[in-house]
């Protein structure tokens, strides 16, 4: 009887898990004193886009989001605790979807920018939705939401461009097969 081939190979699982861990490590050890909403998106989105850009399979981003969400919950990265899972899943899921829509050409700077910006915005929207669900009045949430959206968009986009540049260099160096890029 032929064994059913797993959806993700062992190498892919290892790579995606490392990307997941990298998100949590960056979140806990790397701190930019910018005090601008969403500025952490500049490094949050990089491992997700690189993981999705290398594996090129639907579900890769969601897998990264799930694992990093579980790790963030276990390590208590912020006050949302178990609800962190939804934030990380939203980030991974949206980048997953955009990777699919952009034919996994996330090494293209424009595609990287949109994927990063959309992922960071998804994180913001889910965060606000959770805060509203947990009892913070909508009137508080919407104060400054325009500015916060723009800064999330810009910093997520910049992170996406960084990821795209790294992916392009990996393609050029032959780490990712060119025909798949």
């Amino acid at each position: 009887m032929a064994m059913k081939k797993p959806y993700f190979s062992l190498e892919e699982i290892a790579l995606l898990s490392l990307c997941s861990a990298l998100i949590v490590v960056l979140n806990t050890t790397f701190s930019l004193p910018l005090h601008i909403p969403g500025h952490t998106g500049i490094y949050w989105v990089v491992p997700v886009i690189i993981g999705v850009g290398i594996v090129k399979k639907p579900g890769a981003g969601t897998y990264i989001g799930l694992i990093s969400g579980i790790l963030a919950t276990l390590f208590g990265v912020n006050t949302l605790h178990v609800f962190n899972l939804f934030i990380y899943l939203a980030l991974g899921g949206v980048i997953d979807l955009l990777g699919l829509l952009f034919f996994y050409r996330l090494d293209h700077p424009a595609a990287g920018f949109i994927a990063g910006a959309a992922g960071n915005l998804a994180k913001m929207v889910v965060n606000y939705a959770l805060q509203t669900f947990l009892g913070i009045p909508a009137a508080f949430i919407i104060i400054g939401i325009g500015t916060a959206s723009i800064t999330h968009f810009i910093f997520g986009g910049l992170g996406g461009v960084i990821a795209a540049v790294i992916l392009a260099r990996l393609v050029r160096a032959g780490v990712i097969p060119r025909e798949d890029a």
């Binding site: 829509l101 959309a118 325009g146």
Partner: protein
């Protein structure tokens, strides 16, 4: 030839999808800006509901003005006192800090249920202008919070009285500017020691960079405008609210009351502070 046209077709599709994604992102950002601009009308905050057990009732005389004459209030760099204005060397303000023993954040500290602090004031024999500002005390390395002094989002509350000015403020002496950007501030009302200082009369301010902590707290005459505004009034009795919009509002509030001239001996200020939640 066929392969080349297929690649070209995919390239075209890729570019059109990128363009569409940018358009959708623009629409989303436009929607968020609309919500930011008109959201307070779309989601009215409702009425304030008093939460029992979080109230202070304080009466202060002119002896409460412990600092001044000076033209600035504490921050990383000196802030002006007249709302919306930078420090003016010609100004001679007298300052008192009042611990309100409440905060706009209550409930589960992890969930941070936000409300507001309603402040009711009653001046007796106020001479000239009195300005209210607010500070949020913090712990650890989090900088002290305050309302924004100048530019977009600046707020404050100004009351003007017509009593004859006094001749001196015997309790007041100027606050020294600290290069360390850390201040030890004497409050004018005796309370229990706070959790950080364990001292009933002194509180600590800490600012770590220019602008730090500004804009996390707001002073507003109405909960329908939570962002706050600069309010000027001649009514010696009135109400305003302290609201918070940042992730960290501080664990106690200090109210700064500044008067622009010496006050008469009959000067009294009654302040009632209550935590209220929007209904």
């Amino acid at each position: 030839m066929a392969a080349s046209s297929k690649i070209s077709g995919i390239e075209m599709e890729f570019r059109s999808r990128i363009g569409l994604a940018f358009v959708l992102a623009g629409c989303f950002l436009g929607g968020m800006l609309f919500l930011d601009t008109f959201g307070e009308d779309l989601f009215p905050a409702g009425n304030a509901v008093l939460v029992s057990g979080n109230a202070s009732d304080i009466v202060l005389s002119k002896a409460g003005f412990l600092y001044g004459p000076q033209s600035w209030r504490p921050s990383y760099d000196p802030l002006g006192i007249d709302p919306g204005k930078e420090p003016d060397a010609n100004d001679t303000w007298y300052l008192m800090f009042v611990d309100l023993n409440t905060t706009p954040v209550s409930g589960n500290p992890n969930v941070k249920k936000l409300g507001s602090v309603r402040i009711t004031y009653n001046f007796t024999d106020l001479s000239g202008r009195a300005v209210f500002h607010v500070y949020g005390l913090t712990t650890g390395t989090i900088p002290t919070r305050t309302n924004r002094q100048t530019g977009y989002g600046s707020c404050g509350f100004v009351v003007t009285g017509n009593a004859t000015p006094g001749t001196s403020m015997p309790s007041a002496s100027p606050l020294a500017f600290m290069d360390s950007h850390r201040y030890r501030i004497a409050i004018s009302n005796d309370l229990l020691a706070d959790s950080d200082d364990m001292n009933p009369t002194m509180r600590s301010f800490y600012f770590n960079q220019p602008g730090s902590g500004q804009g996390a707290l707001h002073i507003t005459p109405s909960l329908s405008k939570r962002r706050g505004s600069v309010t000027e009034t001649t009514d010696p009795n009135g109400t305003f609210y302290v609201t918070a919009t940042g992730s960290e509002a501080g664990d106690d509030l200090l109210l700064l009351v500044a008067a622009d001239r010496p006050q008469p001996d009959g000067f009294l200020l009654r302040i009632r502070a209550e935590f209220v939640r929007s209904a």
